[in-house]
Symmetry: C2
Subunit: 416 residues, 2 copies
C-alpha cells in the first residue's frame, strides 16, 4: 500500500466515507483525547452508562431481591454469552459470560485435559499473554505436575510441537504485543490432525477481527469483556465450549450456578446440561449489565465492515508513521501483512516508555509494553482516520523535538 | 424473654431509642416494602449509587485506561479487602476482595489442603451452603479423588469427626437456613487441637455478627459482598488468609494479578508476597466500586451495637410471632438462644412457599427455603422494630385468612 504524500484532507475524506462513522456518537470520548487503547480498555458506551444507572437505581434499589427473576439477572450469563457468541461465530448455547478470563481459562483447560487423559502436553507460545501461561502452570501443579507446558518461540515451530503427546493447543488468537494473528482454522485443523484439542484466547479478537469458532471447529475458547467489546473495566469474561464436547466435558469450579437445580439446595453436585455447567458462582450483575449494554451495540455492527475499516486504519497508520517519522528510530513490530495482523500496531523504539508518556501527556493514548514497544489499538466503531493523522503528527513532533533521559520504566503500567 | 401484650407503640419506642437509627437514611428502601431479606441481597446504599455513577462517568468515561493508576483501580482488591478485614477482626493485609465466594473457597481450600499434605479428609456439614460442598467436591475430583468429604449432620458430631486424618474443617459460621451460629473460637480451637486447619465461610456473618478472625486464630475464611455488606447484586466476594500462613500458602488460580510483577509480563509465574498471591484475574471495577462505597458505611458502624440491635430484633420477632401467630402452624427453626443465632430467623410452615409469596405480594420481603422454611433477615442498619411489628401483623393476617392449594414450589427462587 502506497500513500506517498498523504494529506489530512485525504484522511478526512476516509472518515466521511466510513460506513461505521455513526457508531462513534454512541461512545463517551473526551474531547481532548485521541484514544488508541481500546484494545486495553474500551471506552464507555452511552447505553452502558444508562443501563448501569437503571440497574443500580431501579433493579437493585427498587426491585431488590425480586430482580433476580423480575429483571432477569439470573439469566445474564447465558443472555450476554449468547450475544457474544453471535459475534464470534459460536453455535447457539455455547458461550457464557462469567468470571475473569483467567478463571475461565482454568475451567476450559481443565475440561480439555480431562478429555485427553492419555496425553500430558499443553502447547502454547512463550509470547502468549502471561496470565494464560500462569493459569496453565497453576493447574498443572495442582494436577501433580504430570503435564508439560511446551512453549514455542515462533509460530513456525507449531507443526513440530504438535506431536502425538499433545493434549491441548492453547493459543491467543491475536498476540497482545505484536498483533500477530494466527490462522485459526488452519491451526485448529493441524491440532485436530495431531489429536489435540484447541483452546483459543480471543481477548484481542472478539470485536477486533472476524472470528468463526464453529467453522474453525474450535474446541474451547475464552475471551475478555473489557477490551474491544467495551464492557467496562474488569468486565466479566466469556468462555466457549463446542456443543460436541458439552455432554462429556466437566470443569472443576463446580459452583452452585453450574448445578442442575441450584435452588433445590441439594448437598451433592449435579451439573446442569449444556454450557451452564461452565458457570460457577453468583454473577456480578452490575458489571454484567454494562457488558450486556455494550453487546447491544455490537449486535448492529457488521464484523466484515469492522474488519475492512480496521485494516484500512492499521495500514494507513503504518504507512503514515513510516512516511512521516522516517529516520526517527521506529521499527514496525507488527506483521506488515494485514492478513496476519489483528486490530493493533506496535512500533519498537529504544525510548519507547518516555515516548508513550509524552504522547499520553498530549492526550494521544496508546500504551507501552516492555522493553520497547509503543502499542496502538484501532477500533473502527470510534477511531477516525483523522485521529490517526493527528496521532502521527504528535508522535513525529515528540520524536523530533524531545531528548530522553532514559527514565526507568514504571512497573505499575496500565492494565492490558 | 417475655413481652406479653407487646404493642406497636412499644416497638416505636425501641426505634426512637435505636442508636443506629440514623443509618437507615443512607439506604434506598422503597416506601411500600418491609425488607427482611438483606441476608440475601443488601439494599442500595445511596453512596454506592453515587460512587458507581462517578466511576462510570468520570473514571471509565473520562479517565479511560489512565484510571487504573489515577483512580486507584489497581488497588481496589486490597483496599476493599482492608475495609472488610477491619469488620471481621482480621490482621492488616490479610483480606482481599475478589472473584466469587465459590472461587475464593476453591483457592483457600486448595491452599489449606496443600498445607496438610498427609491428611485427606475435609470435614463439613451436610447443611452447609451447597456451593461450598460443590466446590470441595470439584477440587477433590481434580486432585484425583484421594480426599474424603466427611459431612456431619449435627454440630454435636464435630468432636467425633475431628480425627487425626482431617486436613481442613470447612464450616459456614452462620447457617444459611436456620441461622445457627458456631462458636468460632471454640470450634477453631478444637480443629487446631486435632491438627486440622479451619476454613470459615462468613457469608452470613460479615456485617451480621461480630467476627474476630485473629482472636479465633482462624486459618482461612471466605465471604460474600452482596448480603449484609450491601455491595450490590453479585458483588465481589472476599477471602482471608492468616498472616502466619501467607508465606507457605499457595493457590492454584495463579492469574496475573497474583504475580510479583504483573506488568513485567514474564512468562513464568512468580507469586507476589502476602495476601496478593490469592488474587487471580483483572478485578471487576464497577462491582468493586459499589462494594467499596458500601464498606465506607460499615467503617462507621460499631459491630457491638449492630449485634445488640440484631439480637433485640430477632428476639422481638420470635416473641411476637409466637405470641400473635400462636396456633397458626409456625414452628421456630432457628436456635432459640440468641448466642447460637446469627441475624436471621426461620420459621417452618407446611405451606411455607405460598405464605412467603403472599407476604411478598404485600411488600413484606423475606424468602423461602425448601421444603418449608420462611426465612427473615434482620439488618440493624435499616430494619426498624416497627417493621417487624408490621411484618408479623401481615403474617398473622395471611395465616388467618388464606387457604392454600399447595402450589408447586418454583425452582427459580431468589438467590440466597
Amino acid at each position: 500500500m502506497t500513500h506517498s504524500k498523504m494529506t489530512r484532507e485525504e484522511f478526512a475524506a476516509f472518515d466521511a466515507a466510513d460506513p461505521l462513522a455513526s457508531f462513534r456518537s454512541e461512545f463517551e470520548l473526551p474531547e481532548d483525547v485521541i484514544y488508541l487503547d481500546g484494545n486495553s480498555l474500551g471506552p464507555l458506551p452511552r447505553i452502558a452508562r444508562e443501563r448501569v444507572a437503571a440497574c443500580v437505581t431501579h433493579e437493585w434499589g427498587n426491585g431488590l431481591i425480586r430482580s433476580w427473576n423480575d429483571a432477569g439477572w439470573i439469566d445474564l450469563p447465558t443472555r450476554v454469552g449468547g450475544k457474544i457468541g453471535a459475534l464470534i461465530g459460536a453455535e447457539a448455547d455455547s458461550v457464557v459470560a462469567a468470571d475473569s478470563t483467567s478463571v475461565n481459562l482454568f475451567k476450559c483447560l481443565s475440561a480439555a485435559l480431562a478429555l485427553r487423559p492419555d496425553r500430558c502436553v499443553i502447547v502454547s507460545e512463550e509470547s502468549n499473554f502471561p496470565t494464560d501461561l500462569y493459569m496453565a502452570e497453576g493447574l498443572s501443579a495442582l494436577l501433580g505436575g504430570r503435564h508439560e507446558l511446551r512453549l514455542i518461540e515462533d509460530p513456525n515451530e507449531l507443526p513440530d510441537a504438535l506431536k502425538d503427546d499433545v493434549a491441548v493447543l492453547m493459543l491467543t488468537h491475536v498476540n497482545y504485543r505484536t498483533g500477530y494473528m494466527h490462522d485459526m482454522k488452519a491451526v485448529t485443523d493441524a491440532a485436530r490432525a495431531a489429536g489435540a484439542l484447541t483452546l483459543w484466547d480471543l481477548a484481542h479478537s472478539a470485536g477486533a477481527v472476524p472470528v468463526d469458532l464453529a467453522t474453525a471447529k474450535a474446541d474451547f475458547a475464552v475471551g475478555c469483556g473489557y477490551k474491544y467489546l467495551n464492557g467496562g473495566p474488569g468486565a466479566p469474561a466469556f468462555l466457549y465450549v463446542a456443543p460436541r464436547h458439552q455432554e462429556a466435558a466437566s470443569q472443576p469450579l463446580t459452583g452452585w450456578f453450574a448445578h442442575k437445580a441450584p435452588f433445590a439446595f441439594d448437598h451433592r453436585f449435579a451439573p446442569t446440561d449444556g454450557i451452564g455447567k461452565f458457570l460457577c458462582g453468583t454473577p456480578p450483575v452490575l458489571a454484567m449489565t454494562a457488558l450486556d449494554a455494550a453487546m447491544d451495540i455490537w449486535a448492529r455492527a457488521d464484523m466484515d465492515a469492522v474488519r475492512a475499516i480496521s485494516v484500512a486504519l492499521t495500514e494507513s497508520f503504518i504507512t503514515l508513521v513510516e512516511e512521516r517519522c522516517a529516520g526517527l528510530g521506529l521499527t514496525l513490530a507488527s506483521p506488515r501483512n494485514a492478513e496476519h495482523r489483528g486490530s493493533q500496531v506496535s512500533f519498537a523504539h529504544e525510548n519507547g516508555y518516555p515516548v508513550m508518556q509524552a504522547l499520553i501527556a498530549r492526550g494521544v493514548i496508546g500504551d507501552f509494553r516492555a522493553p520497547d514497544l509503543l502499542r496502538f489499538g484501532f477500533t473502527p466503531l470510534y477511531t477516525r482516520f483523522t485521529d490517526i493523522w493527528d496521532a502521527v503528527e504528535h508522535l513525529r513532533d515528540i520524536l523530533e523535538t524531545s531528548s530522553w533521559d532514559q527514565p526507568e520504566f514504571h512497573a505499575r503500567a496500565a492494565v492490558t
